[in-house]
Amino acid sequence: MPGKLKAKIVAGRHLPIMDRASDLTDAFVEVKFGNTTFKTDVYPKSLNPQWNSEWFKFEVDDEDLQDEPLQITVLDHDTYSANDAIGKVYIDIDPLLCSEAATVISGWLPIYDTIHGIRGEINVLVKVDLFNDLNRFRQSSCGVKFFCTTSIPRCYRAVMVHGFVEELVVNEDPEYQWIDRIRTPRASNEARQRLIFLMSGELQRKIGLKVLEMGGNAVVGYLQCFDLEGESGLVVRAIGTACTLEKISSTLPATATHPSNSSPSKDMKEPGFGEEAPGVPLSSGPPTPLRAQTFSSFSPSKSYSRQSSSSDTELSLTPKTGMGSGGSAGKEAGPLKALLRQQTQSALEQRRVSSSSEAFVRTGEYPFFPLTAFPPGFLLHVGGVVSARSVKLLDRIHNPALGNTRSYKLLDWNSFTADEPETRDAWWEEIRQEIKSHAKALGCQAVVGYSESTSICEEVCILSASGTAAILSSRFMQDGPLDTEHRLSRQPLCVFSTGSERVEGDMGSSASLGFEEVVSPGCGFCHIPYDELNIPFPAQLTYCYCCRRYKVPDVLFTTIDLPTEANVTGKGCLIQARLCRTKKKAQGEGNATVISNLLPFLEYELHTQLMNKLKLRGMNALFGLRIQISIGETMLLGLASATGVYLTALPSPGGIQIAGKTPSDITYEQHISNMQKKINDTIAKNKELYEINPPEVVEEIIGSPIPEPRQRSRLFRSQSESSDEVSELDLSHGKKDAFVLEIDDTDAVEDIHALLTDFPTPAGFYSCNTEIMPGIQNWTSAIQMFTSVRVFRLNASLTSQGLNKIFSDLCENLLKSLYFKLRSMVPCCLCHLNFTVAIPEDELIQVAVTAVAMSFDKEQLLENGKQSGEKTLIKAITENDEQLQFNLELNAETPSPNPLSSPKGLSEVGSHLSARALSVDYSSFADRCSSWIEQLKLKAHTIRRGSVKTTSSMEKASPLPEGRSRSLRSNRSYSGSSVAVVKMTPLSFIPGAKIIKYLGIINMFFIRETTSLREEGGVSGFLHTFIAEVFAMVRAHVAALGGNAVVSYSMKECVFMENPNKNQAQCLINVSGDAVIFVRESELESTSVQTQSATTHTSNGAEGT
């Protein structure tokens, strides 16, 4: 049973002229859901038809509601010939199925045609009446919330994290079906769009079911990907983290939403807390013993493997070719023995054993988390990056009538599409097993920041997975103590918002959380989780530079965001390693073998480059590491992006030393010393640029963060071999830990060139590929999300080195262009710079970048504890400006009066703030932790958040945000002529604003094709228009849901194909994100500023010390 879907077609506007004779259009609309179709009347001779139809009602199963999109087709009526289609609108009604999300879809949506693009707009109203289904064996999973955001969404808190969920569905690609030969490109494109819509819906429903099974009510970090495998089909797969989320009540007076929601969510919770609880994922099997192990490993005596990155890369060098062509070995893809290195052998054996013994392990057993940011206290230790790749041959599904012997063989176990998911599942199964064993080898029970990707060229496919091995706190897991939850629920704050407070709580109360008591939040995650005696590689461990108690590695590579509580010195920057390798053309298995042989070298070189560039910038850790390997017919591309930072807890990196192998020649010596000098200069310059000046600071602040700091640090000193310590604080290069590059090595020469040719970012710009840049907090509200795509044609016959240079220049030039484009936003930071590379065809390289540029206030960059108060002041003022503009834009109909919105009032408040420094929350925090400067910088966040807290508690008394949001919408419709502004950002938040409601996931797939490429401005004109149209459609759908922003936006797929000779091109784009309603913080605060300033008066003074 059950649900009733209702749709009403109101009007159209800007329709194209369909009748040349009259220059007008006789439009009508078909509304289709499942197999039911309704039609409106024909509205004759108008480009702005007013249908104002009745409510079309569809009575359908909720299963269908989840799978199917509502399909609206606008047509031109023609008396004599067939009606011409103007275009279509697909509406994903999933957001309406979750009572906490949107309630109605209403607004102008672009009418889209795959050949002509956007052709006018249509105004529709869509509603769903859902009857709750209590059937245990139901196939639907309505009510499970999905979030693309890879952290706990801002207005929720995690009651429990259940673990990893994954699913994939497979189908034939309509573009490769026989029927495609006789149908029009439009029909083919539409069939594809519709199919992918259906598959995404089905996938989401199935994942939802798994979540319900686990007892959760939401999926966070939902990542859905397509594999366009060509002839062998189309795979849609997704991963995510199942959680039980609870809305933070103070954020939204949820009296209206909660009761209606209650039945599905209660449904979910019961099994979660009840019978099933102990049996499910993380508590079962390996994790428990592992956790025990980690506890013990804290006495820094035992050991294991590590040296974060290099070892990881080594570990991951186990490419396997799937011997696709039948045989019993096919399923258990045989690894290429020749490639295996000694160290990895054991890991691999282990994998094989495990996968053969428990052939299909329950997915719940993977302690993987696609999340990249965590509630403070959740992430205890980070081991390092773990990754696994595997090369597979895609099995062709031949038409039996045409099949040769080989394909007949294949048909044995792969002719039915129903079999396909099994095969693909098994492939991923292998990879996940491998990741899991790598994590184990690092002494970790979990993998965070986990992601999976593929690269396909013809019939060869590389499957990759990577993540960060970590040890997590049991607190949020299923077997976590219940009182923790209680404690959490008492806090009216989002768990994310104030790291400091959470930790305080831990220190004060819980005994169950053992060692956390003594680990400071700023460095705890750096401490090695593994046993230092068993390190297979010569890793250099030192005592933590913050607490002096535990061992830390010399460098740390991770795939997650920088934890908010981490102690960082200076600022970070984007670091990229780029590599291009030629390969011989080959077919089938031969090709797979060639690729497998190349992969390890590619990864090794990428790693070396990353390491060199990191050292050149004087930094010691990488966050958000993404390594993308892309295959083409004649080359392989590798692109590794990460954000480098200087973690205060880790030792200062040594310099880079160049050594010549043949020191006979004097000019040669000179050459080397010149180069050495250049490198040293660059390092020095970079340190200045990124404000990295650690040693002194370290000495001063050491030991201050924890209650009895002095003694402990002294204790440490005496324990450790002090002479060694001191020398390590020395910044001079050429120490034993310096990185030695031997110049004889041609690779090294190349590396050095690569190092020195990276252009510095222009003044006023910063860049990172993580959510935020360490060291910058005072964002203004000016944000600009953008997508940039470039395709380069290479000349034939280039050497690998030449290719490398070209590829590197390509990326650099792209960045330079971005800086130039965004020059008006200076000072600003490009955040979440996400590069994707592809080789669309021979000799073409495609690079696509999506990121957001965010402005910040320059003056406030000076970091000093005292100034953070002023920061809030200026912040408040700028926000107030924004608010005024914001109001203006919405016809200035703000419902709540803002007594303090006059600049004068604010500046008064501001002066209080600047004089007295900080707000309540912060000061209480500061009392405990005393003043440590680095921490302060980070916690300017906390200040803001703290103020939010006050606000949100105030808000109960003030007009409801719900009402406010409604007024936003009514304003929008009221103002009529102007279009609502919808912000888009790849980040999970909007600076200076508070997300008050998540409206549901946006997941859209579009195809655009043209047969008049030149007329549309060539390839660039074509793609430019298409991307702009995709943005427009995303914005329109978000606005129709009642939202004013998309967060965690990403463009997952951008496949571009051209045939200039035929004047044709085709492009596929897949985008996703979370539709939200946000309210400016200034708007929320305006009422509470008064109170706040009063409290600041009474309760502070701790600052300035």
């Binding site: 707009e121 940039s788 020059r823 002529s977 502004v981 390839v1019 660039s1020 004109g1021 943005f1031």
Partner: protein, 361 residues
């Protein structure tokens, strides 16, 4: 190695005013890059020529995409494709429109009064070489004229107001467009050598006078009729003014009244007295002939030949002209046998202000 494809799309559309102007001026991408380099934007932002080229091409593409909307400015407000900077959308859009519809005086002088047809468009390359304005820019300006003309041609109500509403133009620009439409519709001759000294603004002023006084909409606001055509009834009535020159007595009487009034007040009194009959015949004949469409076209050339040139050769100052025309108009009302006062006032009011505006070097 070559860049095959290069695009940048922001969620809020970035438009560089300077590049927009270069685009409007019809510069090629390469020329625009040169101008920008000379402008020093490179040093300012540590950019290279390559970056500048990429940016310029991108901007040009954006403008081309936007051009479709600029043809119907009303659509710009509720289109979904571009999201302009949220903080200043109305300004930015107004700027885009205003600049798109702006035109060069030297260009408009060339096509003013010509039929806005394909034939004229074909000759634009000559106009381009003559004025030094790029052909691309000429085409845009011409197409703008034509588009505005087509839209308001069929509309009822006041011309200027119609233009302002449909194209969201500022007042002055809307008036200029009204003039252009009015001239194109009535096909006034403006290209003759004798008229070369007149600027577009002179003509625009005269057009304003004609629209406000001689069209149907001018007398009868209630009828909401069109402003583009002259009031046929009025033109018919103008024939009656011929009596001023055909009736010998009336002509003499008129002359003596004017001379009495002017005596001693001007240095060119003698010339004035000698020329009175000629000048009066000139003006009245213009009036009488306006019923013929062909003579309407020659309106301005006639004014110059029949009145302005004779006065100028006698070295009248514009004060003299003003004085003369004032008394010439007023004296006619005192004539006992002259009955067509209303038509006379309506006619002479426009003639006087037009002549005064046109009376310069």
């Amino acid at each position: 190695m070559s860049v095959e494809l290069d695009v940048f799309v922001g969620n809020t559309t970035i438009m560089d005013k300077e590049v927009y102007q270069l685009w409007l001026n019809g510069y090629t991408v390469n020329d625009a890059v040169k101008v920008r380099i000379e402008g020093g934007v490179m040093e300012e932002c540590e950019a290279s020529a390559e970056v500048l080229l990429s940016d310029t091409m991108d901007q040009y593409r954006t403008f081309q995409m936007c051009e479709r909307l600029l043809h119907h400015p009303a659509k710009l407000a509720n289109q979904l494709l571009f999201q302009f900077h949220p903080q200043i959308p109305p300004d930015r859009q107004a700027m885009l429109i205003e600049r798109y519809y702006a035109f060069d005086d030297s260009f408009v002088r060339e096509v003013l009064g010509k039929k806005l047809s394909k034939g004229t468009k074909k000759d634009l390359d000559d106009v381009s070489t003559k004025t030094g304005i790029t052909l691309k820019s000429c085409r845009r300006q011409f197409d703008n004229f034509k588009r505005v003309f087509k839209v308001v041609e069929e509309l009822k109500g006041p011309l200027v107001e119609n233009i302002r509403q449909h194209f969201l133009l500022p007042d002055q620009l809307a008036r200029d467009y009204a003039a252009i439409v009015f001239f194109a519709n009535n096909r006034f001759e403006t290209g003759k050598k004798k008229l070369h000294y007149l600027t577009f603004q002179d003509f625009a002023f005269c057009a304003g006078q004609l629209i406000n006084n001689w069209t149907l909409g001018a007398v009868d606001n209630i009828m909401d009729d069109m402003d583009v055509d002259l009031d046929k009834e009025f033109l018919q009535e103008l024939k009656d003014l011929k009596i001023l020159i055909t009736d010998k007595d009336l002509l003499d009487q008129h002359k003596s009244l004017v001379c009495t009034a002017l005596r001693g007040k001007t240095n060119v009194f003698n010339e004035m007295e000698a020329n009175f009959k000629n000048l009066s015949r000139g003006l009245v004949n213009i009036a009488a002939k306006l019923i013929n469409a062909k003579d309407v076209r020659d309106f301005f050339i006639d004014l110059v030949e029949k009145f302005i040139e004779p006065c100028r050769s006698d070295k009248w100052t514009s004060i003299d002209v003003n004085l003369y025309l004032t008394h010439y108009t007023n004296s006619a009302h005192i004539l006992d046998t002259f009955k067509h006062h209303a038509v006379w006032t309506r006619y002479m009011g426009v003639i006087k202000s037009c002549i005064l505006r046109m009376y310069h070097d």
